[in-house]
């Protein structure tokens, strides 16, 4: 009983560290994935609650590898179920509090706002797997190996997926931006 208690305390401590390290990652993913502030909060909460339930097994299976791809995969699956159940896709327009607003100066905001909106719209219009890969790469800074683990693909396939996503987005932006973006 005491051993189990100690093990649980250690597990909780490790989960707490995981949570602190990746709350922003999961929320960022959820934010861009579902495009709505309240849904993003719900998705983040459900992701961590589910992760907590399976944490011990995940630790054993990870064998020392980072757990961020596992967390994002949980969020990815939950989001997919959410849209399957409700037959809806993420909103093309994100909430007013755009991420750019938090991170960039006024001049960049004014001059680049249309460009950024165009790119965001383009991302939201991509096929699911391409959109997910771009969110993981650019919002979370995940490398190909991590993205591959989160999406359940090979690294090679992931590299091709990202390349094609960027090429497709380039075409969308050139078309919709009239070449001026």
């Amino acid at each position: 009983m005491e051993d189990r208690g100690l093990a649980k305390a250690e597990l909780d401590e490790r989960f707490s560290a995981l949570y602190r390290a990746h709350l922003r990652d999961v929320y960022s993913y959820a934010h861009y994935r579902v495009g709505h502030h309240q849904d993003a909060e719900d998705l983040t909460e459900q992701t961590f609650l589910q992760a907590y339930r399976h944490f011990e097994r995940a630790l054993a299976q990870a064998d020392g590898r980072p757990l961020r791809p596992w967390l994002i995969r949980i969020a990815h699956n939950l989001a997919a179920n959410h849209y399957r159940d409700r037959s809806r896709r993420p909103a093309a327009a994100l909430d007013d509090e755009t991420p750019a607003a938090a991170a960039h100066d006024v001049e960049a905001l004014v001059s680049g706002r249309e460009e950024l909106a165009l790119v965001l719209d383009g991302v939201m219009g991509l096929p699911d797997d391409r959109r997910e890969a771009l969110i993981m790469r650019f919002a979370l800074g995940m490398d190909n190996r991590e993205i591959a683990r989160a999406l359940g693909r090979s690294e090679g396939a992931t590299k091709v997926l990202i390349h094609r996503a960027i090429r497709q987005l380039e075409g969308v932006v050139a078309r919709d931006g009239g070449g001026s973006a």
């Binding site: 990652d25 929320y27 960022s28 983040t44 961590f48 339930r53 991420p99 750019a100 979370l140 960027i166």
Partner: protein, 79 residues
């Protein structure tokens, strides 16, 4: 915009990380704490119930009887 490098620069800005709201963090901590407590509580309650439930006693008694019977039969064959 002229190429993939430009699109990547725009993507870095458009998909900047988003800070979670402060109340989300505190709500999550509370939910996780409650989940942890309920998991321990459920386990302890299950253990207590297993010791007290007469149905489980019957199962244990049947299992013991079956084991004893097998042991006796094994010894007879050995003789």
């Amino acid at each position: 915009m002229s190429g993939p490098a430009d699109v990547e620069r725009l993507l870095e800005r458009a998909l900047a990380p988003v800070e979670p709201p402060a109340d989300l963090a505190s709500r999550l901590r509370a939910a996780l704490a409650a989940l942890g407590e309920s998991a321990v509580g459920e386990l302890e309650a299950w253990e207590r119930a297993a010791m007290r439930a007469p149905r489980r006693w019957a199962r244990v008694a049947v299992a013991l009887a079956a084991g004893a019977g097998a042991l006796v039969r094994g010894r007879r064959r050995g003789d």
